[in-house]
C-alpha cells in the first residue's frame, strides 16, 4: 500500500538511480537518465493501475523494451510503493532480486529485456490481446534508438500498423548513442519519425526532457481519431541531469566512484533547490 502520493519528481528519481547505481557499482546510468522524464510523465499522468496494483488485469501495459534503462523504472516503482527501500541500498548484492536489466519476474516489469528488439513485439501482442478482448487498455513500448537497429522492431511495426492497433504507442528514446558510439557513426537511422510514419504510425517528435511537452504529445496522440498505432520520437540527452555524463557515452558502462558519485549527487541536489 502506498501511503504517500507519488510525485515522480525527476530530480528525486535521478537521485534514486544514482544512489542505487553507486550501491550496486553498476553501469547503464546514462541509459536510465535519458528516460527519466518520459517515465515520470507516463506514471504520473497516463498509466492506469487500478488499486495501484501492478498486476491488475485491467492495467495499462508499459513495456521497457530498452531494458538497460531499468533503474529509471525501479525509481518510479519505488515511488509507487512497489519496491522496498532495501532493494535499492542492497542493489546487486548476492541473492537480490533487482537485476541490471528489466526482468519480468519483478512485479511491475512486464518483460524480460536487454536483449534488444524483444519487448516491442511482446507489447504488440499485449495490445493485440486487449483489442481482441475489446478493452481500452493502452500499451506503451519504450525503445532505445540503438535498439531499433533490430529487425524484429520493424516486423512488429508492420504488424501493429496492418492490424490498426490504435492503443499501441511506441516511445523512442532518441539519445543519439548506442553502446559503441553515436547512432550516426554506428548505423545511421536518419529520420526515425519518417520511418515510423512510413510504417503507418501517427508520429510526433518532442523534447524528451520537457515534461509538459511529453504530456501534451501523448494526450494529442490518444485523442486522435485515427485507428493507427502511435509513435513518440523523444529527443533526449544520454546522461541527462549530470553535466559530466551528458552526451558522454562512457556513462553507458562506467561505474561511479566516491568522487563522481558525490559530484553527480551535488549537481542533482542543486537542481532540486
Amino acid at each position: 500500500m502506498n501511503l504517500h502520493k507519488p510525485t515522480f519528481n525527476v530530480n528525486k528519481l535521478r537521485k534514486t538511480v544514482l544512489e542505487m547505481a553507486y550501491a550496486g557499482s553498476t553501469v547503464h546510468i546514462g541509459c536510465a537518465f535519458s528516460i527519466i522524464e518520459l517515465l515520470a510523465v507516463l506514471y504520473r499522468n497516463h498509466l492506469n493501475y487500478p488499486n495501484n496494483d501492478p498486476e491488475s488485469k485491467m492495467r495499462d501495459y508499459l513495456v521497457l523494451s530498452k531494458g538497460h534503462g531499468v533503474m529509471a523504472q525501479y525509481a518510479c516503482m519505488r515511488e509507487l510503493g512497489w519496491l522496498k527501500d532495501n532493494s535499492f541500498t542492497e542493489y546487486f548484492s548476492n541473492g537480490s532480486e533487482l537485476k541490471g536489466l528489466s526482468d519480468s519476474l519483478i512485479s511491475g516489469l512486464e518483460v524480460t529485456s536487454g536483449t534488444l528488439g524483444h519487448g516491442f513485439s511482446v507489447g504488440v501482442g499485449m495490445s493485440l490481446g486487449a483489442k481482441l478482448a475489446g478493452t481500452n487498455q493502452k500499451t506503451y513500448a519504450l525503445v532505445g534508438d540503438g535498439e531499433i537497429n533490430e529487425g524484429a522492431i520493424w516486423e512488429g511495426a508492420l504488424f501493429a500498423s496492418h492490424h490498426e492497433l490504435k492503443n499501441f504507442m511506441v516511445i523512442i528514446d532518441e539519445n543519439g548513442f548506442q553502446a559503441m558510439g553515436t547512432t550516426k557513426e554506428v548505423l545511421n537511422l536518419n529520420s526515425i519519425k519518417n520511418k515510423f510514419e512510413s510504417f503507418g504510425f501517427e508520429t510526433i517528435t518532442i523534447d524528451g526532457h520537457d515534461e509538459e511537452c511529453i504530456d501534451q504529445a501523448i494526450n494529442k496522440l490518444w485523442s486522435s481519431s485515427s485507428n493507427m498505432p502511435k509513435a513518440v520520437v523523444a529527443k533526449t540527452i544520454k546522461g541527462k541531469g549530470v553535466s559530466f555524463m551528458e552526451n558522454n557515452n562512457e556513462w553507458h558502462y562506467t561505474r561511479l566512484n566516491e568522487h563522481t558519485y558525490n559530484s553527480a549527487l551535488a549537481e542533482i541536489e542543486k537542481g532540486e533547490q
Binding site: 488485469k57 519476474l105 524480460t112 504488440v124 501482442g125 495490445s127 493485440l128 516486423e155 512488429g156
Partner: protein
C-alpha cells in the same frame, strides 16, 4: 496425421475462444478448415517469425492460448532467443509447432530441413518437447500441449508414414509407449516421430527378439523407464531423424551412462547437412536412415559386440 492435426486444432479453438492460431505465412490448405470455422482466432503474422513469437508471448501474458505454427527450420530455429526469453523464462503457455521436421522438405535443401531443432530446444528451461509418431500420438500431444501450464515445442515430422498404434492412447507425460514387446528382449529399440514406423517394420521382420518403444516426449523424460529397459536388454538402439548430437540418442545416453550402463547404438543424422536433393526416401537413404541401411547398421553393431 495432418488431418488429425487440423481437426484437433479446430476442435480446441471451438471449445476455447482464447485459443489463437498464429502462422508465419505458412500452412496453406492445412488451415482451410480453421479459417472457415474460427476466422477470428486465425492470425497470419506475415513472414516475420521473431515478431510472431514475441507477440505470442504478449498474448499469453494477457490470457490467450497461442498456437504458433511454422516450419521447424524457423520455429524454433530462427526464434530460439524469443522462445528462451519471451516465453520460456516466464513459463508462458505457448504451443510452438514446428512442421516438416527432419528431411520432409527433401527437395528444398538445408534451409528448410531441421535436424538440430531438438538439440536447440532441450537446454531451454521450462520448455517441453513433444514428438508424436502418428495421428494417435499427435492427438494426445495436442491435448497435452493445450493443457500444459508451460510452453511446448511440438515437433511434426513426415506425416504420411502410416499409423503405429491402432487406437486412441492415454499418454503419460515423459513416458515411452510400447510398440512391440518381447519377453527375451535382446535388443530394445527406442525411437521417435517419423522413424517409429520404419523401426517397427524392421524389428518385426528382422529382429524378432526385440522390443520397440516410441518416445513422444523428449522432455520431460522419465529416467526410470530407461533404467528398467536396460535391465532387461542386452543392447539399446536409439533411432531418430535428428542429429546424433543433442536429440533422443543423447537423452538416452545421458541416462544410461549415469544410471545403468549397457551398450548403446545411436542412429541419427551425422554431423552434416544434406548434400543432394531428391525424394524424402532418397534423403533418408543419403543419411543412412532408410530401412535397409538401418538393418545393416544394427547387424554390424550386434556382430561387433
Amino acid at each position: 496425421m495432418r488431418d488429425a492435426f487440423s481437426k484437433c486444432l479446430v476442435s480446441l479453438a471451438k471449445s476455447d475462444a482464447k485459443v489463437l492460431l498464429l502462422t508465419g505465412d505458412h500452412g496453406y490448405s492445412l488451415f482451410d478448415e480453421f479459417r472457415k470455422e474460427c476466422p477470428e482466432q486465425y492470425i497470419n503474422a506475415g513472414i516475420a517469425e521473431q515478431n510472431m513469437v514475441g507477440m505470442a508471448a504478449g498474448l499469453a501474458r494477457v490470457g490467450y492460448r497461442p498456437f504458433v505454427y511454422g516450419l521447424s527450420a524457423f520455429i524454433p530455429l530462427r526464434v530460439i532467443e524469443q522462445i528462451k526469453i519471451d516465453i520460456a523464462h516466464d513459463k508462458l503457455p505457448v504451443v510452438l509447432i514446428g512442421d516438416g521436421a527432419g528431411f520432409v522438405y527433401s527437395h528444398l535443401g538445408a534451409s528448410h530441413q531441421a535436424t538440430e531443432d531438438i538439440a536447440c530446444c532441450r537446454a531451454i528451461p521450462n520448455l517441453s518437447i513433444f514428438s508424436p509418431a502418428d495421428r494417435f500420438e499427435l492427438e494426445s500431444c495436442m491435448i497435452m500441449s493445450y493443457e500444459s501450464k508451460g510452453p511446448v515445442y511440438l515437433r511434426l515430422g513426415k506425416a504420411d508414414r502410416g499409423d503405429v498404434h491402432s487406437k486412441n492412447l492415454e499418454l503419460k507425460i515423459g513416458n515411452l509407449v510400447p510398440i512391440k514387446t518381447n519377453k527375451s528382449n535382446d535388443i530394445s529399440f527406442i525411437t521417435t516421430g517419423s522413424l517409429v514406423k520404419s523401426v517397427m517394420n524392421i524389428a518385426l521382420e528382422n529382429f524378432p527378439n526385440s522390443s520397440v518403444w516410441s518416445s513422444p516426449f523428449i522432455k520431460p523424460f522419465e529416467n526410470k523407464q530407461i533404467v528398467d529397459i536396460c535391465k532387461r536388454s542386452q543392447v539399446l538402439i536409439v533411432i531418430e531423424e535428428h542429429s546424433i548430437y543433442g536429440g533422443l540418442g543423447s537423452v538416452v545416453s545421458e541416462i544410461i551412462s549415469e544410471f545403468s550402463p549397457i551398450r548403446l547404438l545411436r542412429i541419427g543424422v551425422q554431423d552434416r547437412f544434406s548434400q543432394y536433393c531428391g525424394t524424402y526416401d532418397y534423403l533418408l537413404e543419403e543419411h543412412g536412415l532408410d530401412e535397409l541401411s538401418l538393418i545393416k547398421k544394427i547387424k554390424q553393431f550386434i556382430e561387433s559386440i
